[in-house]
Symmetry: C2
Subunit: 544 residues, 2 copies
């Protein structure tokens, strides 16, 4: 059945009117506010009048409603039922009666004898139809077609094959002919935005801005695309832990409240800790190394990481999920680098294998970046930093001798290098090894063969960094010298416990730290890391 | 070979002398400090004299050292080797040459021709012996027997069957006859404490206090018992995630930085967040419910939880690992309670199955509590709160009518109830359902049959609470009324986003929050929760 006629009841607020922007254009704001207030007053009056009328009609009709008990408040007898999920329905369900619990994605009265519901479960949509025929009454049709969008209802009906596929539904080859419909949780008549995405105007600008979506994140999470993205995030964490556990690694929980700002004082959040100050850990770096010194051999952590950076970019958050690991090695730090490369290849390959339906859904909304390319032979591409410098030079981007050893690539250079490598090696995932010592933190081991370089590596996806790692210095004298060379004072408060760990003997080790949200973002080609965070935090955003 | 003679070199500081206590007895402190300084000066002079003498001797001896290159600094040719782990050694290794990397747990020179090392890998100990016989020189024996305790060495030797089992080693049926010994990471001559536990004086008081152990946590982690405990912690997190993932639940990461102190203002840590204040989440409660409102159906989180409680008890931490879950249900909240009970039975059963060797090791140090008793039929014992009240009454502990409905059990009553239940039902794990509404938070659903009670439950291990959970109110009007009844203002800043989630429709749901560290503590019968945290945090402790 077609799904075109206009609904007879006032619809949800159109999304671009709703949720005035915090700190938006203040000149238009007051004008808009006045207009909006007047509009809302008129609407409220209309609504009140309608409600009164409806109540009177309802009372009059109740006596001879043949559908009494089949709709509205759920009777006790309907409270213990066996419900079916949309995903369980198939052509084999035709002509069978099922009960589903779902959201009202859309409701409209076609005529006094016919109404439609679009039902939604985790973004998947099925059409339901109700037509007047004993015992279904006009009152029940009116109730059904007038349900508030986003309400959760329990619907019993017969699964039918529609005459033509329902193009507006995601499950288009079946529809539900309603027998009963009960309210489980009623949504307000006015929602701040429509739980829908990917809709753009004639110029290609999204109808709902990212800000509105994030302000109303709960509604936004209900969409098919958000559902799929949150599955990918869950998958990355799961695959990381799966691989680490299989390798014999121990899951650790290191403190986020630390006594001193040891990793760069300016980017750290300060906490009132009883009568003194504490700080939020910017990474578990020092603690996972202390676990290695504590003979734990191979450890991993999955935990929030806090960065008080005033960075308002598409890829920075002040709080994100960190996936960290640290391992001892026998002979060479490349044992750990091999391990880390295989870890990432495992995660990315398995994401494609286990989450193909979700990836397909997300690509409908974000098609621009295209499929994520993995190395064909299942082994990560590893180049040295200087290979990257050479590839850029070939493409006309030259770095001076000084820049090469004292700077790192700029973000623009990294992206360009990503393009070059994609064209040359046909992969979106690769590793650069042997970064200049000057650009790495104090605990990084210098390359024994050439002290301008270090035994450190970055991992890239689509030309953007997702992991930084290195062999760490495990000799106390070397560590103290490296700190001094970086302008740090080993006797500074907060370093004592860390340095003691090396004074008491520590095996050679290496590791790395991954940003989960960035992996999700770059794997899916999302335009903003906030889309890969449930409730993102940035310098401007602390809610919801 | 016997392991009794005194060593010829100065030993590590005895543990009760080391690491003066922060805020300890100040009268004795200065006296002790003077005494200690004099002692240390004498020691240092002695050490310097010895070092000079050794250097001279070494230079003289070097020319005719038959073992040159077999000990000391590792030559390049010994840097790429295949090492064997202690756990790989067996009687089949007898007479074979192996190379191991391990810590020196103890080193002593028996005579000019004989020295012993006790080698340690993650708490496991094997004895190694070195005897003069071509090409092994007296210099090499002196070097080996004089190694600093806790140094990490690479040892090559022949595995032999000892004449009598080495009782001081954990692997007593084999010993290593040393051929080569190289330094990997040298420990300082003086360690702040001996990495050993369970040693008590004649009165049964531990020789090393918990404070000293925690102050020197890296050394403490190296012991066999600590190694085993950290495996159990890792196991709890792994088993929780395994069960949740298998059930189809999504792994979530909710923000720890929140804009308002919505869950009780006094126990929350305040954070400087750019130009305003933020707070550290005391639980993911409101956010996991918002995920449910966002149609995620079943979610779980593994993340730090922060409590600014001035509680200096054996079971309180200011930061701990929270294992949280939240699920929708079809017909009754007992669907979720059943799920949670099975989850805990799974975790506890699998801990016993997968970590039997670790549990046995821990029980040697902490035998008091005994084996953890699980219900024989694999189903959790579930009683109602009022059943608990009745059991206590039978045992002579009566609560007044008012106490029953307005208070909860005291900690002492909980412990006694744990004893009663253990005797009556032969289990250390059980569940109490239907707590009084008065003692539960505002989002708890009242029992529809009797509003004095609520659809809420606590889980207990050995009479101490490890989880609290409930059906949550999913109706906005009911929720606002419940807030007001608890003296909270629904219009207060910070509640808006949470309440909007319910205004937009939310399915019925229930969940719970587990404390990982407490599960480990009570499962193993540890006397203090700090032993079940890698780097514990309490009002007094922010380091290491």
């Amino acid at each position: 059945m077609a799904d075109s006629e206009l609904p007879t009841r006032p619809k949800t607020e159109s999304t671009n009117e709703a949720a005035p922007a915090e700190g938006g254009d203040s000149k238009n704001a007051s004008k808009n506010a006045l207009k909006k207030a007047a509009k809302e007053k008129a609407k409220a009056e209309k609504a009140a009048a309608r409600a009164a009328q409806e109540k009177a009609q309802a009372a009059a009709a109740e006596a001879n409603d043949t559908a009494k008990g089949l709709y509205g408040q759920r009777p006790d007898s309907e409270k213990i039922v066996s419900t079916t999920r949309f995903s369980e329905l198939s052509e084999e369900s035709y002509e069978k009666e099922v009960t589903v619990v779902a959201r009202v994605d859309n409701a409209r009265v076609q005529s006094a004898k016919l109404a439609f519901l679009m039902l939604r479960q985790q973004g998947q949509k099925i059409q339901a139809v109700i037509a007047a025929a004993e015992p279904i009454s006009r009152q029940m049709i009116k109730y059904t077609g007038g349900l508030n969008v986003n309400s959760i209802v329990q619907v019993t009906g017969i699964v039918k094959k529609p005459e033509i596929p329902i193009s507006s539904a995601t499950i288009s080859h079946l529809e539900l002919h309603i027998r009963k419909v009960y309210m489980i949780s009623e949504a307000a008549q006015m929602l701040p935005m429509q739980a829908e995405e990917g809709q753009v105007d004639a110029e290609g600008t999204p109808l709902v801005t990212l800000k509105t979506r994030l302000d109303n994140r709960v509604l936004d999470l209900q969409t098919e695309t958000s559902q799929a993205i949150t599955w990918i995030s869950s998958g990355v964490a799961q695959l990381f832990s799966e691989y680490m556990i299989k390798s014999g690694s121990r899951w650790i929980f290191t403190p986020k409240l630390v006594g001193a700002a040891t990793e760069g004082g300016s980017n750290v959040f300060e906490v009132k800790y009883f009568k003194r100050n504490a700080y939020l850990a910017q990474s578990p770096q020092l603690y996972k190394q202390m676990c290695i010194a504590g003979d734990m051999e191979s450890v991993f952590e999955i935990a929030p990481v806090f960065r008080a950076e005033e960075s308002n970019t598409h890829r920075h958050l002040t709080e994100f999920a960190g996936l960290d690991f640290e391992k001892t090695f026998q002979n060479h730090y490349h044992e750990v680098l091999d391990f880390a490369e295989d870890l990432l290849v495992f995660i990315l390959t398995q994401l494609k294998e286990r989450y193909a339906p979700q990836i397909a859904i997300i690509q409908k909304s974000y098609p621009k970046a295209g499929d994520f390319k993995l190395p064909k032979d299942g082994k990560a591409l590893r180049l040295n930093y200087m290979d990257g410098v050479a590839l850029l030079k070939e493409a006309g981007v030259d770095m001076s001798e000084q820049e090469r050893f004292e700077n790192d690539f700029s973000t623009a250079m990294e992206k360009q290098l990503g393009q070059i490598i994609r064209e040359k090696y046909d992969t979106d995932f690769y590793v650069l090894d042997k970064f200049p010592m000057a650009v790495r933190p104090f605990y990084t081991k210098a390359d024994p063969a050439d002290s301008r370089f270090s035994n450190s590596y970055d991992f890239f996806m689509r030309g953007e960094e997702i992991m930084s790692g290195a062999q760490r210095i495990n000799d106390i004298k070397e560590l103290e010298a490296s700190m001094r060379a970086k302008g740090l004072d080993p006797t500074q408060e907060g370093f004592e416990d860390y340095l003691n760990a090396f004074r008491q003997g520590c095996p050679p080790h290496a590791g790395g730290g991954l940003g989960m949200n960035r992996i999700v973002m770059f794997f899916l080609g999302l335009p903003n890391v906030r889309l890969a965070s449930l409730f993102p935090r940035d310098p401007q955003r602390l809610r919801p």
